[in-house]
């Protein structure tokens, strides 16, 4: 039992890292734009497809396999720079301030379009591209082998967590975003280009989701349905952590991934529902999530 604890924790943390990238983007966009983007999971799967395709191309072109690491980052940046401004300017901006039902319908429509587009472009077969994971190899701790790639995921998730905190507390963009979140009208009157703030925040959200997807490809591969699957987990994280809470998203990612991994280890039949059972339990006790409050909204 005890010698199972360390691998279990490592698995949970690595899973939590991947979910966190998506959830933190979702929560950022919700804070700044006040919109729950149902299509957010699609950016994760698109990031995954682009990263896998780029990785396969690198190998087939006979380039240095270590280039597959910058390729992961590049894929996420590419997805964000193309889709972020495009989707925000053409579609999302029209939903600001509208009823939640309209926002959900519009972003759900976008989700369906993006899902079909992915099938059209990348086909319906699964793609595996695990070069980065294979390159990093394994470490032995106490007789048990761990994938170094999992450790990298955990380190990167921590970097995103602290990076986001730094952005919000200490950068010009972050402070302007806090002002826009707190009071859009005063922000405009004080000279903040709120449209640009919205595009930037949305693009950053897309980047984080796509980064999660890109980083996930070496561990899980990509197949149709990945976006939806991830989205539901990210929603569970948002519900548990409280929407708009970055630290909440971090803790909730660990809870959700922990529930999933525990189920995989001890009750595999329940691995899909376990995160949502935990979510239900949390929401019964704290309807606004562990860190959420009914009135304040933070980023």
């Amino acid at each position: 039992m005890l010698d199972m604890a360390l691998p279990l924790i490592m698995d949970a943390l690595a899973n939590a890292a991947l979910i966190f990238f998506v959830a933190v983007g979702l929560t950022l966009v919700f804070s700044v734009q006040r919109i729950l983007n149902v299509a957010h999971g699609s950016f994760y799967s698109i990031g995954a497809y682009i990263a896998a395709s780029m990785g396969l191309w690198l190998i087939s072109a006979g380039l240095n396999p270590w280039l597959s690491f910058p390729a992961l980052l590049l894929s996420a940046a590419l997805v964000a720079m193309v889709l972020g401004p495009l989707v925000e300017r053409t579609l999302i901006r029209w939903t600001y301030g509208r009823h939640e039902a309209i926002q959900i319908l519009v972003t759900f429509g976008l989700f369906l379009i993006l899902e079909d587009l992915q099938r059209l472009v990348f086909g319906v077969r699964s793609i595996y591209q695990d070069t980065p994971m294979a390159l990093l190899g394994v470490s032995e701790i106490g007789g048990i082998f761990y994938l170094n790639y999992q450790l990298l995921l955990i380190v990167l998730a921590l970097a995103v967590l602290f990076g986001m905190r730094f952005l919000i507390k200490h950068t010009r963009l972050g402070r302007l975003l806090v002002a826009v979140v707190a009071d859009r009208e005063v922000s405009l009157a004080m000279g903040i280009n709120t449209d640009r703030a919205f595009v930037l925040a949305f693009t950053l959200g897309v980047f984080l989701a796509a980064l999660g997807g890109a980083l996930a490809t070496p561990t899980t591969g990509v197949a149709p349905g990945l976006g939806a699957e991830t989205m539901v987990l990210a929603f569970a994280v948002a519900a548990i952590g409280g929407l708009g809470q970055i630290e909440g998203a971090a803790v909730a990612s660990i809870i959700v991934a922990g529930a999933k991994v525990l189920a995989v280890y001890y009750a595999p039949a329940f691995d899909t529902v376990a995160p949502f059972l935990v979510m239900l339990a949390v929401l019964l006790v704290r309807p606004n999530g562990l860190f959420g409050t009914a009135t304040t909204r933070k980023i």
Binding site: R172, R175, A179, L188, M190, G191, N193
Partner: protein
């Protein structure tokens, strides 16, 4: 001539709030807009700031049409605005609230400091609040902070929406003194101050306009 409002009409959710108002704010002059609650004072200032859709009419700053520009273009043009309900950012310190327009406009640090020092010199009360969170100051102190924040950019026009509303007598006196200092020091600014009671501002007003049910009566003092 500085800021000119011409035949401005504004509807809010289908209800006509401003019915073709016109007036001019002159540099160095203080125009006081008097009207009861709901008369259209706040709507007038918000429309000038581009925060409301306008049905018809024009607003121009030194001949430059303002309504075609996005709302955030007002601050860089030197228009400062202090809303009636203060609207401070609760998560920011008082100093950070005052500096928000400087941050938004990406002012150089030296310029930022010069303007902050100038603002603190005009409203010394702000310096003592400096580090307090914006969410923790009283309503009256908040009005002072909102004035300081507006001053950071108000090189040409300063719009103050009911600054004396709900101010305790001591603070009202402080605020009035700050206004007097401001008028003496900053002679190029065109001031507009709205108020529900005509008595409070009689000493600072160069011109007094009255707004009633969305119509400005009397026009400017010269017009009467």
């Amino acid at each position: 001539m500085m800021l000119k409002v011409d035949n401005l009409e504004v509807e809010i959710e289908g209800v006509q709030v401003l019915r073709g108002i016109s007036f001019t704010l002159e540099s160095g002059k203080t125009t006081v807009l008097i009207g009861r609650n709901g008369a259209g004072k706040t709507t007038t200032l918000r429309a000038i700031m581009g925060l409301l859709p306008v049905v018809s009419g024009t607003v121009s700053l030194a001949g430059d049409a303002l309504l075609d520009k996005p709302a955030f273009a007002r601050a860089p043009l030197g228009i400062g605005y202090a809303p009636e309900d203060r609207r401070l950012i609760a998560e920011f310190s008082v100093r950070e609230n005052i500096l928000l327009p400087a941050l938004a406009l990406n002012m150089a640090p030296a310029e930022r400091k010069r303007r902050l020092d100038e603002t603190y010199a005009l409203i010394p009360q702000l310096e003592t609040l400096d580090a307090r969170p914006g969410g923790s100051v009283s309503g009256g102190q908040g009005k002072m902070v909102a004035l300081g924040r507006a001053l950071m950019v108000a090189d040409r026009v300063l719009l103050l929406d009911e600054p004396f509303q709900g101010l305790a007598p001591a603070l009202a006196l402080d605020y009035a003194r700050a206004l007097k200092r401001l008028k003496a020091e900053k002679r190029d600014i065109a001031y507009m101050i709205t108020e529900s009671s005509p008595d409070l501002l009689s000493s600072v007003a160069d011109e007094t306009l009255t707004i009633e049910r969305g119509m400005v009566s009397g026009g400017t003092v010269e017009a009467i």
